[in-house]
Each structure stands twice: as structure tokens, then as C-alpha cells.
Symmetry: C2
Subunit: 576 residues, 2 copies
């Protein structure tokens, strides 16, 4: 049976199935979600209205034996930014969809009735069910009761109360292989799912046809090269595995690029207390898992399971950006509070970066003081409860700034910046400014080359070479996101030509094509152009490719660095 | 002594004085505020940051014997819309500034100290004083205690707590000749004043040089023609004088264009209860004033003084848009509640249209039910108190919509629409879409010709002629706003060529120039172009000149009308 696309029309409550059209045959993941949004969604539509669509797509290599290929992309017009959006995560949904031969699941329309629905995706297609049984419940509850009902092998995509309430920072959660939660975090895609009144999607791949690989010998050989490259690289094979993403607290603090106290400073005096090294010791002392993969087939294992003082499970997927955002940027240095916050955010279903940036802005506005850990937990609980204050925080950093009349509001295209100060690590500033998705470090992770000396070294404090660096990384990331690969494969790819060649070999072995390495980059460029054109048609201009004014006006310590790119310089990003 | 411009630098706390430069000599009011913003304010700056400026300018005819010429313009980059902004009102400040020979007062920079200041403007210049004596007080208190201190003749510009808190819908209040309050309502200019930490500006024109008129004979003759035209026109001379602006409730309800229940319907079943006719009876029965001018020299007198049941003063300047917005659009039909709401909004200092639109959206989101008068008062009081819910409502309709995840959010460029449904009165829809200030009916008041048959008749339900109508009115309004004239002079101007000629004659008589009537229109065009260019430089595009999607998708009763202009059609507005 050929691979196919399912459509779920929530207006008519009917589903349909179609073959993958020729033009989309070579696309998966972000390449496919962005192509569908660009072709089928009216750029000026209201993101929560009937004309938006939410698309889920596993990567082109998802479901194969390729290491770290189990990422699921979701795409739509973003309620947070108004731009095109793709967000991806691990978990088991991507692989289940791939095994069922499903290249994309497209959710369309809005139901008339004021009730929630659930979808069941299995070998026979998609079933829509009116289902208010889990309305108002947190994601952990949804996962638990769905497993109880449908069995332990089920993959689940779900929104928490924040998504139900259509808050612009709502995320979509995906069950990981252990039954815990990963997040398709950024851009408020959970609100799009909530607007379509879909509480959760259960995916049962029993009887699925699996993923076809035309030349399995060639594929296996390339997969082996690729896996080896991942394991042998010092960042993906050691640093990330040992300390998780949180290895970065000390690294970025040392750079002077760890945004602290709502981006006032570049170093946090209590960095040690929240560092990856400290966290590892805590996890081990409490019988947690310091190293853990977010999806089957991951060889990096940068995730972890964090237990509370009584050695009971508290949270997992407790990432650097969350720890930075609620830690350094809100001046809270108690890891247990941060872990509890992470747990609540996963449960209510909200992007932790957006929340962290928003809370720091609210702290600056005096809503609660900097360093107030219990206050921070209270604010996050209010988001889940949908109180007025919770609604403000759930609407994203830009809204918090507007509501409290602040000028130090770290957003681009209304999406909050993450854990790297663009003044002292200028490459990431170019990515924040130019990404088609609003400020998004993953779109072109220059930290690799600016701070970790992967793929060479570009001095983070100088302007030279940053635009080229960000451009090259954004192009290759668009390609990586299309394959369903984890963004961290970029580390070996940047340093080891064999790794990139192996990816291209796997694509060719899988589909029988003959694409060259240059084609792959052309492919990445085309995705960026498609996304950029959507944004222009939605009314964005080069004026939106700018960092907030305060980065130009306020030097940040310890390097006394300011953001000094001119608009014209930034605009050269699109010269490709 | 020559006319001059004063600058107040709030960063250095110094003031300076300069002659009016040649290029600005022929400008006043909106023409001057927009010219200063366009020339001196960075289009992409943060509206609450140090790079924004707030400019006050009386009109070119203000302070003369010309009827209805006492409007004061304020201009800045708007915290609500991000566009250029001009807002004008009556009161006594414009005439006091004009009598002092002050063509513009430009407020720049931001103070470092966390305290409020007051400004005293008199014949010797501008004095800045650290002054926290009235911080947190409402506008009525500010007016009362300033009069107590400085005497009854003082003119006052003030912000309430909403402006102090920099909420994006904060307005600037101006004392009227009776000591009551008028508002420079739209676009959040009160937040700009609040960001500069100026609580109030007292203007003492004692010893002022007065306004020079070169040919006073010619001026008087033209002023007489103009005044006669105003008094003799059925709208400005009778309808508005008898029933105030609220004469429109019945007229617009009859048109099917009275937005009701958050723009769901075009007629309100309780229209009669809140109509101008009913209101007049109530006012007379309580010994209020059914007819009252907002500034000295007004011959229309569309304002009124509304007393409570005990015949004590409750509010004044209780306009149609407020009564529509909190009445029909929120389904509250108790005039006393609406008057109390008006009083509170004047006191805390917030734009009543923005609040009304926001509350209707909040009602749709279930925050309080439609028709809940006491709830509505509570919400408005929360704005003044700065609670989280109050902050949401004070940030404007677009933020309310975003925070509550709604799609029926009646805004253009994030400014709330007013009391005319654009589906059933299409000309005003063109104005909402294309105005350089966000949705603003006063920018090109097509209701004159669409509903009141002034200046001919353009069928409100058909597309034909609406773009030309809106364009012509926006051009002439820009001119009128520059003269310091009340927008209602447009009624006689549209029907009576002598009225327009009289304005041009007055300008020539005053300054000794020889401008022709065509020059005046060219002048209006130039102002619009200047404002439009600022917006383009700020990142706005033609995609922002659009009404919200729901107006295209939802027909409104009783005419089953939808908004059916294409984007290309709207874009022809700028072909001049």
C-alpha cells in the first residue's frame, strides 16, 4: 500500500485519505508541514479560525533504522507569532505514523459543537469521536488513562488545559517511550489543536505496513556510519549524554551569554547550583536516570529522568532552556523548584521558554520579585487554572510586555528569545532575527560554532561571519528537520563529512533516488524560501527581522557587548 | 515675539525653545504632530521607550475667532497600534497654548528616576517639577487640586492611573471650560505620557501674546460665513445640538449598522432605551445640560452634562461611541450604568471605545455575561486598580482577544472598531482598513454620506464609490485636523461650498498667504502620505490595511451583509 495523507475535517467531522501527491513525495517533517501550510493556508487568516490547518508529519527517515530519526513535526500558522510555524519533538508518535504509512495528518476546519473530540489513528484510518472524558485534564492524566484504555504501545499526542483554552503559548505533548512527556513546544500549536477541539490523538500502529527501504544493504551501511559519527563526536557522544542539554549552563555562563534577570546580565552568580554537573549528581543520588533517549533509536540520550527528594519520578525532558529561563533569567537557583515547574508546564501543556521569558518580564514589572521560586510556581499554576494573570502569562512574552507596559521584552516576531544573549553570542542573534518562526535558537544553532567550536570557530563577540554561519545552519537545519532527525546530529555533521554523506546515502537507499549532497542543501534553501514567502504574504517585512531595541541600547556584562548589526546587514541573510 | 516650539527633555530634565522652522510654518494640529513624529521619531522604536516623542499642537486656526477651532492634537508613535498616531480633543489647552504663542510642545526622552513630574507652561516657558503629589489620583482629582492651586483659568492636560501604568489604551484628559473632562482618546497616547512620567501639564496663558491675525477684517467676515454655515446645517446646527452625538443610536440602528453583541448583529433591541432622544429627556428631567460645548467658541454644542438620579453631576462628554460600545455592543441598556462607566473611564483615563470593544470580546469569552451592567462597572474599576484582569482590558481589544483566544476581535492594526458595522456601512469599513491610525471612524467619517445623506448619498450596502468617499473624507479630515477644527465642521463643508472657502479665507487672512482651495486638499494628501510613509518604515504593509476575517465570513443582519472588498480593491485607496 502506498504511503498516504489523511485529512480530518473538524467542520464536517469527516476524514479522507489521499495518495501523497507527486510534488510532496520527496518531503517529510518540516519540509512537508511547511509545504502544506504554504499551499493550503491563507497567509492572513486568523490562526485560531477555520482557515488554519494543523499538520503532523514524521520525517523522511522516520521509522527506519537511522539513529535519531524519530522526530515528529507539527506545522500551522502560529497563534503566537502569526508566521508559519514548525515545531518538532521526539516521542513515539512519529514512528507510529511512519509505520502506518502515514506521511501527514492534516487537521482542518472547526467544529460547531462546544465539546472536545479525540482521534484514533490506526491501520484502518482515522476515527473522530466526541470525547469530553478528558477535558480539563493534564497531559499526564491523558497519557495514563489512554494507555489504560488502549494499551501500553499506543502513541499519544495531547494538549493540556492551556491548549484547550487556546492560549498562544500552548504546546502539544507527545508520549515518550516510557510513558512520559515530550513537547512540540514553540509557537502555540497547542492552541491551534485546541481551537479545533481535539483533546488528544491516539495512534495505534498495530498491523502497520512499516517503512519501506528499497536498498536495505546500502541503508544499513550508511546508518552504521551515521550512528558511529554521532557516538564518537565529543558533544553528541559525550557532553550531551553525560550532562544532558543542561551541560550548557556552565559553558554559556562562561561565555557571558547566559541571560540573567530578564536579559540584564550575561552571567548568573548561582549558575553552579543549576548546572548540568550539579543536576547529574542530584539525579544519580536520587536514583533517577541521568541519560535517557526521547525516542526509540536515539543514541545521544540527552534527556534524563529527575526524581524528587523521595526518589519518586518528578519530571523528564528537563532541558537547559527551561532551567536557564526559570533559573538564571528569573534568578531562581533551586533545581527542585525548577523541576517542579517543568513538571507542571508539561502537564498543563505550555512552552517553557515562553513562560520563562514572560515570568522574567512580569518580575521586572513587579508582579513577583526576582528569585521568588514559590511565586513562580504559583504563576505557572495560574496559567493552568486560566485565571486572568494565568491568561496573561499563557499568551506569551510579548503580551506580558504589552500588558505591563515594559520595554525590555525579549521577543522577535512576538516569540521569546531563549538561553543565549545575542549581544555576547552574535550568531544566535542573527538566527533569532531572521528565523521564519520568530526567535528560535534551534532554527540555526550557531552556539555550536560560536561557543562549542564545532564546525570551526566564529568569534561570538564579533560580527564577522555570523550571517553566513546562521544562514548555513538554518539551511542545513531545515534539511535535518525534514528528515525527522534530531537537531543535535548537526554536531557530527558539522565536523565530519562522512556523517552528512551518510544521511544522503540513507535517503537514496530508502527511496531509490539519486540526490547529491548539494541537492540536500538546495532542498533546505527551498524550505526556507517557502516559509519566508508565506510570512511576506502574511504581512511580515524585513522590519520584523530585527531584535528589540534594548539590545542596541543596553550593553551587557561581562563583555560590555551591544547588538550592533544594522538592518541592512541583517537583510543580507536572505541573499541566497 | 514669534511663535515657537518648546521641547521638554525628560532624560536631562531640561527645556528648550526654538523658532518654528520654515518647513513647519504652515502646519498646526495633526499636520504638525505628524510632521514632527515622521521627522524625529525612529519608526521602529518602542513606543514606551526613550526614542518616542509626544507632541501637543493646537491647530492653525486655534485661538482665533473662528468657530469650533479649539481642538488640541497630540501625536506620537502609538503603544496600541505601533503606527503613527494623532488624537485630538476640545477643552481649553489648545487655546491657552495658542495664546502663549506656542505652536508645539514636544516631550522627549525618559527620566531615570522612578517618580512622576508635572510641567507648568506659562509666558516664561516650561518648568519641570518633580511632583508625586497626585500620583495614583484620578483625573477629576488632578483637575480639582490643580485649579485649587493655580486658579480657575488654568488649562490642564493629565493622565489617570491607567496612563501612569502605561496601559496601551490609556488616554490623555484635558480640562474643559467648566472644569470637567474631555479626552484625547485613541491610540494610547496617555501611556506615552506615562512612560515619560509626566502626570499633568498645567498651562497658564496669563500675559500670553495672543494669536496674531494679519487681516482681521477679512478674517471676521470669513469667520461669520463659517459660523453661519455651521449653525444653519441640519446636522451640526440641529441634530447634534439637540441630541448630541448620541442622536446616532436610532439612526445607525435603523441602518442595521449598530454593532450589537460583539459585532454579531446590526440592530439592538433595546436601542430606544439608550438613544439620544431618551437621554435628552433624562438629562432635562434631572436638570442637566442637554447641550454643551467642549471648548470656547463651539457653536455646535454636541456635548452635554449628565446628572445622576439625585441631580448631581455624574459625567459629561458622554458620547455616542461610548453609549454604543458599552450599550448595544455589550447588551447593557441602562443609561445610568453607562454614564457611571463613562465617568470612571474619564477619571482613570482610558479610551472608552477600546474598553467597550474589549469588554464585548471578554463577554464573548465568558469573563462576564452579555448584559451584565454591574460586571461591566467592576471590570472598568479593575482597569484603574491595575489588577491582572484590569491590565488585560487596559491593553486594548486586540490583547483581550489574544489573551482569551478569540477570533471575533474587531480591530484593525490592533485598534478597536467603533460604532458602525463595516458590513452594512461599507464606506466606514474602508476608513477602518486604510486609516493610518488603525480603525478610526473620525479619520474619514463616511457616515455623513452613507447614512446622513450629507454631501450626497453613497449607498452604504454597495461597494460602489466607497473608496473614493473614504479617500476624499480622509484627505479633507487631515486638513480639518490641522486647522484645529472639530471634525463636525465637515457636515456644512460637504454641503456648502461657502463653508470650505471660508476656512481657506481665514487661513489666508490670518497668515497673509494666498493658498487656494485646491492647495488645502493637496495639503491633506501630503499629511496622509507622510503618515503612511512612517507606517511603512515601521514595518506595516498593505496586509495591515484589512478588516478581520470574520467580517468576510459572517453575514450580519438585518441586511445579510458581508465585507466583500478584495485586498486589491482596498489598496487602490492609496492611488492619489
Amino acid at each position: 500500500m502506498a504511503e498516504r495523507i489523511y485529512r480530518v475535517n473538524m467542520t464536517t467531522l469527516k476524514t479522507s485519505c489521499e495518495d501523497v501527491p507527486e510534488k510532496w513525495k520527496g518531503l517529510g517533517g518540516r519540509g512537508l508541514t511547511s509545504a502544506v501550510v504554504a499551499q493550503e493556508v491563507k497567509p492572513t487568516c486568523h490562526p485560531l479560525g477555520k482557515n488554519n490547518k494543523l499538520i503532523f508529519a514524521p520525517g523522511l527517515l522516520t521509522g527506519t533504522a537511522c539513529a535519531n530519526s524519530g522526530r515528529l513535526s507539527a506545522g500551522a500558522k502560529s497563534p503566537l507569532t502569526g508566521t508559519i510555524k514548525e515545531s518538532n519533538a521526539g516521542g513515539s508518535a512519529a514512528q507510529s505514523l511512519a509505520r502506518l504509512g502515514i506521511r501527514a495528518l492534516i487537521l482542518e476546519g472547526l467544529p460547531e459543537k462546544d465539546t472536545f473530540y479525540s482521534l484514533l489513528v490506526d491501520k484502518d484510518g482515522v476515527t473522530i469521536r466526541e470525547d469530553d472524558s478528558l477535558t480539563g485534564k493534564g497531559n499526564y492524566d491523558v497519557v495514563e488513562s489512554t494507555i489504560e484504555k488502549l494499551g501500553k504501545k499506543i502513541a499519544i499526542l495531547t494538549i493540556g488545559p492551556v491548549g484547550e483554552m487556546c492560549m498562544a503559548a500552548a504546546n502539544i505533548s507527545v508520549r515518550d517511550p516510557d510513558g512520559n512527556i515530550r513537547s512540540l513546544g514553540r509557537g502555540g500549536l497547542g492552541a491551534v489543536m485546541g481551537s479545533k477541539k481535539i483533546k488528544y490523538i491516539a495512534i495505534d500502529d498495530t498491523g502497520g505496513e512499516g517503512v519501506k527501504v528499497l536498498d536495505s544493504g546500502k541503508f544499513k551501511a550508511a546508518a552504521k556510519v551515521f550512528s558511529k559519527a554521532l557516538v564518537e563526536h565529543p558533544v553528541s557522544g559525550q557532553g550531551l549524554r553525560q550532562y544532558g542539554t543542561n551541560v550548557l549552563v556552565n559553558v554559556i555562563n562562561e561565555c557571558g551569554g547566559l541571560p540573567t534577570r530578564n536579559f540584564r546580565y550575561g552571567r548568573f552568580e548561582d549558575a553552579e547550583k543549576i548546572s548540568g554537573e550539579t543536576m547529574r549528581d542530584v539525579i544519580i543520588s536520587r536514583s533517577g536516570k541521568p541519560s535517557h533517549g526521547c525516542h526509540a533509536g536515539c543514541v545521544i540520550k540527552c534527556s534524563q529522568v529527575y526524581n524528587d527528594k523521595d526518589k519518586n519520578y518528578l519530571t523528564s525532558g528537563f532541558e537547559y532552556e527551561t532551567i536557564w529561563g526559570l533559573g538564571a533569567n528569573c534568578c531562581v537557583s533551586d533545581l527542585d523548584i525548577l523541576a517542579e515547574a517543568d513538571r507542571i508546564m508539561d502537564d498543563i501543556g505550555i512552552d517553557s521558554i515562553e513562560v520563562a521569558d514572560g515570568i522574567a518580564v512580569a518580575m521586572e514589572a513587579g508582579v513577583i520579585p526576582f528569585g521568588d521560586g514559590p511565586g513562580l510556581l504559583r504563576l505557572i499554576r495560574e496559567i493552568g487554572a486560566g485565571t486572568p494573570l494565568g491568561r496573561i502569562m499563557g499568551a506569551g512574552t510579548a503580551v506580558v510586555g504589552k500588558v505591563y507596559g515594559r520595554t525590555r521584552v525579549p521577543v522577535v516576531k512576538d516569540q521569546g528569545l531563549s538561553a543565549y544573549d545575542p549581544r555576547s553570542i552574535k550568531g544566535i542573534g542573527v538566527t533569532y532575527a531572521t528565523s521564519t518562526m520568530g526567535a528560535d535558537h534551534t532554527a540555526g544553532y550557531t552556539i555550536a560554532t560560536n561557543a562549542l567550536k564545532v564546525g570551526g570557530f566564529v568569534d561570538p563577540l564579533k560580527k564577522d561571519g555570523q550571517i553566513e554561519l546562521s544562514r548555513n545552519l538554518q539551511i542545513s537545519t531545515a534539511f535535518i528537520d525534514t528528515m525527522g532527525l534530531c537537531v543535535f546530529v548537526a554536531f557530527p555533521v558539522l565536523d565530519n563529512p562522512a556523517a552528512f554523506k551518510a544521511i544522503v546515502d540513507m535517503i537514496n537507499a530508502k527511496g531509490g533516488g539519486e540526490i547529491a549532497e548539494e541537492d540536500a542543501l538546495e532542498f533546505g534553501k527551498q524550505i526556507l524560501r517557502t516559509e519566508h514567502e508565506f510570512n511576506l504574504a502574511a504581512g511580515f517585512t524585513n522590519k520584523d527581522d530585527r531584535l528589540p531595541e534594548f539590545f542596541e541600547d543596553e550593553p551587557v556584562q561581562p563583555h560590555d557587548a551591544v547588538w550592533d548589526f544594522t538592518g541592512d546587514e541583517i537583510d543580507t541573510f536572505w541573499n541566497f
